[in-house]
C-alpha cells in the first residue's frame, strides 16, 4: 500500500504440456509488480492475465507459501529457488529484482524427477528413499518415557540441523550429477547422531543408499552446489557422515 512505483518484468518460462511433450520456453511480460510481491504472487498476476486472455496458466507446485512444506520448486535464472541464501521460491520477494529484468524460470531438472507439467515435477523418488529406511522402526505405543533417553544438547542440536530438510529437491536440481546425497545424508545423519537411531544404523544407511541408486540419482563429486541451493542451509558435512556410516555398515 506504500508502493508508489511498480515494475515490469519479462519472463521466459518453461512450458511443457505433460511428461511426453518436448516442451519449450515462452515469453511473457507482467506489469504492476511491487517490491512486496512474493515471486509466486508475481506468477499469480501472470496467471490471472493468462486466464483472462483464455490461455492456460503456468502450472507450478506451491502450498504453504511460508517456506516449510517443500512443495515449491523452480529454477530461477539458473539457480534452484532463485539463489537467495536460505530461501525457498515462495519466500523470495520481488524487491530482489529490478524494473525491466528478464527472468528465466525452469522446473527442477534431474533424471529422477520426470516433469508432470510446466514447472511441476514428480518427486516420488525422494519418498522412496525415506521408505527404504528413513525412520526408527518403533511401533506406536510401548515406548519409554521421553526423558528415559538422555540426549546431550549438542547431539539434539545436530540432529535438528539435519532434520530441517524440507524435501524440496533443490539439492538434486542444483547438482550436476542429479544426486540426492544431501537429502539422503541429512536423514541418515539425523538418526546417526541420536541414540534412538543406533540399533538400525547399518541397515538404514545401506538400504537408503541402495534406494537412491535404484531411483536414478547420481553420485557426489564434491561440487557443493547442493548446499548452495538448499533453502534450509543443510551442510555437506552430512554427506561425509553418510559416507562414514556407509563404510562402517560394510564391516
Amino acid at each position: 500500500m506504500s508502493d508508489h512505483k511498480t515494475m515490469t518484468i519479462n519472463l521466459v518460462v518453461w512450458r511443457q504440456k505433460n511428461a511426453n511433450d518436448t516442451g519449450k520456453f515462452e515469453n511473457y511480460t507482467v506489469k504492476g509488480i511491487t517490491e512486496h510481491h512474493s515471486f509466486l504472487e508475481m506468477l499469480d498476476v501472470l496467471n490471472e492475465d493468462l486466464i483472462k486472455a483464455g490461455k492456460q496458466p503456468v502450472a507450478f507446485d506451491h502450498d504453504c507459501r511460508e517456506g516449510i512444506c517443500g512443495m515449491c520448486s523452480q529454477v530461477i535464472n539458473g539457480m534452484p529457488h532463485g539463489g537467495q541464501e536460505r530461501t525457498t521460491v515462495c519466500q523470495l520477494h520481488m524487491r530482489k529484482f529490478h524494473d525491466g529484468d528478464t527472468i528465466y524460470i525452469e522446473p527442477w531438472r534431474a533424471r529422477a524427477f520426470p516433469i508432470v507439467k510446466d514447472l511441476v515435477v514428480d518427486r516420488e523418488a525422494l519418498d522412496k528413499i525415506i521408505q527404504a529406511g528413513g525412520y526408527t522402526s518403533c511401533h506406536t505405543g510401548g515406548v519409554p518415557d521421553g526423558n528415559a533417553i538422555l540426549i546431550p544438547k549438542p547431539a539434539a542440536d545436530e540432529a535438528m540441523d539435519a532434520a530441517e530438510c524440507i524435501g524440496c529437491g533443490a539439492c538434486v536440481a542444483g547438482c550436476p550429477n542429479g544426486a540426492a546425497m544431501l537429502f539422503t545424508g541429512a536423514k541418515v545423519s539425523q538418526f546417526a547422531v541420536l541414540p534412538q537411531g543406533k540399533a538400525e544404523a547399518k541397515t538404514r544407511v545401506t538400504n537408503m543408499v541402495q534406494a537412491m541408486k535404484d531411483c536414478g540419482f547420481g553420485n557426489c563429486t564434491n561440487h557443493y552446489e547442493c548446499m548452495a541451493a538448499c533453502p534450509k542451509g543443510i551442510n555437506v558435512k552430512f554427506i561425509a557422515r553418510m559416507n562414514r556410516e556407509y563404510l562402517k555398515a560394510q564391516f
Binding site: 504472487e41 490471472e48 483472462k52 517443500g70 518427486r123 521408505q131 518403533c138
Partner: protein
Amino acid sequence: MILDGKCPTGPIQQSWDKHRFDLKLVNPANKRKYNVIVVGTGLAGGAAAASLGELGYNVQAFCYQDSPRRAHSIAAQGGINAAKAYPNDGDSIYRLFYDTIKGGDFRAREADVWRLAQVSNNIIDQCVAQGVPFARDYAGYLDNRSFGGAQVSRTFYARGQTGQQLLLGAYSALSRQIKLGTVKMYARREMLDLVVVDGVARGITVRNLVTGELESYAADAVCLATGGYVNVFYLSTNAMGCSVTAKWAAHKKGAYFANPCYTQIHPTCIPQAGDYQSKLTLMSESLRNDGRCWVPKKKEDCGKHPNDVAEEDRDYYLERKYPSFGNLAPRDIASRAAKEQCDDERGVGPGGRGVYLDFATSIKRVGADTIKERYGNLFEMYEKITDENGYKRPMRMYPAPHYSMGGLWVDYNLMSNIPGLFVLGEANFSVHGANRLGASALMQGLADGYFVIPYTIGGYLAGVKPVGTSTDAAEFKQSKEEVNGNVSKLLGINGKKTVSEFMRELGGLMWENCGMARSNESLNINLQKIPALREEFWNNVKVTGTGAEFNQDLENAGRTADFLEFAELMCRDALHREESCGGHFRTEHQYDDGEAMRDDSNFCYAGAWEFKGINNEPELHKEPLKFENVHLAVRSYK
C-alpha cells in the same frame, strides 16, 4: 434432534481407560481382512494411517500434495503441549484438561478433553522414540516453554519448526508401513465425494490431479483427516490447497457440521501489505514469551518510528488489561485486544492495522544471541517478508484467520453420524470448544491419530463384516457421474471472472462480516450477498483447460464452489448463536469492558447442522454439553 456423543459415564479420571476396555476388539488374524481409507496425511491422518497399518489393517491413504510429508501441519511453529510436569511447576493431566476446557470457553465435551490431556504424555514419548529432535537442556533432558492461556510451562518444541518435526515423525512411521505394504499411498489425489451405501460410509471418489481421471476407492471405514476451513476468508495462514471440500462432500452426504462459526483468528501474523497478497504468515505464539505487545498511547505517535516513541507514551495493552497472563493471554482475547487498539485509531503500519511486538526488553535481559537461538528462524522469516529487522525495531503484527475449531460432528469414538465415517484432527469439532489454546492443535492431531482411532475404529469394525474393496455398487458409479457433471459444468461456463476474483470477494465478505466481530446486521448482509455471489459464480466464472489433465485452475474452481456453499452455513451458525464465546464474538453480547458474554442457559450445546439441499435452510441438531468436573464460570485472564 438431540445428539448423543456417547461419552463414557462415571469418574472422568477412569473414563478413557474404562472405555478402552469396553471397546470390542478385532483379533490380529481378522484385522487383515478389513480395509480402511484415510484421507489427508497431516498429523492426524499420517499418524492414523501409520498406526492402523501397524495394527495389520489394509490402509489406503490419500493426499492432494505430491507427498504425504507436505500437509499443512508442517507449518506449525511453536510447540506441542503435554502434561508431563517435567519443570515441577504444578502441572498435571487435570490442569491441562482444565486449561483446555476454560481456553475453549466451556464449549467442548469434558470426556474428549480429558482423554486428550491423558494421552498427551504418550505423544511426547512416541515422538522421542521416532527420533524427533525436541529441544534439550545441557543435561540431556527435554526442555519446555510457555504458551498462551496457561501459567505452567508444558510446551515441547523443536526450534521454531515443531509441526515440521512431528509431521516428519508421522511421515517416517507412515513410510515404514508403505514399505511393508500395509499402507498403499495415493498422492496428488483430491477427495471430491464420499460414497455412502445403505447408510454406511463405504468409500470415496477422488480426482487424480495428474491425469484428471476420477477414481473410486472402497473400504470398510473412511477416516477424514482433511484439516480446517479458514481459507473461507481467502487470506489466512493456511496453505493454498487447504479447503472445506472433503468435509463439505461428507456433509452433503449426510454428515453433520458442528459449530462452523468457531474460527480462530491468531493474534500475531504479519500484516497484509497489498491487495495482490495470496496468504498471511503467522509468527509463532511462542514469541509472546519474550515479545511485548504495544501501541502508542497517542494517535499522533502512530506515524513515528517506533523507537522514537517514548516509553511512557507506549500502551502495553495486554499487560494493562490482563495483568496475570499479560502477553500470554489466549489467542481470541489477544486478537480482539489488538483489533480494539486499531479501532481506537492507535494501530501502526499501513492502514493503521497493526500493533508492535517488541523484543527490546528481552534482548536487554538475556541478550540478542539467546533470542536468536530461541526464535532465529522466525526473525529471518519476518525480515524476508517485510524487509525489516525484528532485533532492531519492533515487529508489526495483526490478527489473521488461522484455525477452525468447528468441523464435522463426531461422537466420543470420533465417528460421525454416518456409520463408518470417522473424522480426525482439525476436521472434527471435538476438543477445542470455541477457542483453541496454542500448542494444542499438534496435540489433538497426534492424539486422534496415534492413540484414539486405533482403538475406536476396532470397536466399530468388530461389529461389521468385511466387505472388500470392490467398487461395483451402483453408488460408486453414481458418485463418479455426479462429480464428473460438476467438473464439466465448471469448465463449460466460460464466463468473464476468474476463480480467484470470486474467492477474494467471498473472503472479503467473510472477514468483514463474519470475522473477528459479528453482528445480526453484518451476518444478514452476508446471508444476502453470498447466495448472489454463488449464483454469479455458476454463471460467470472462467475456468481454463480440460478435466483430463493437470489443471490447477479447475482444482481452485472446485474448492471455491464449495466455499461459496459452506460460507453461508458458517454465517447461519454465527447468526443463530446469540452469545459471544471464544473466537465467536457477537457485538450485541459483550460486557461493559468489551469481554465476551456467554449465555450458558441457552447456548451450552454443540450445534450440528444437517444439510437439506443448496438454498434450503439446514436443520440444527443440538448436543447439550454437561460440565461435571469443571465449574461453568466467566472466563477471566485478568
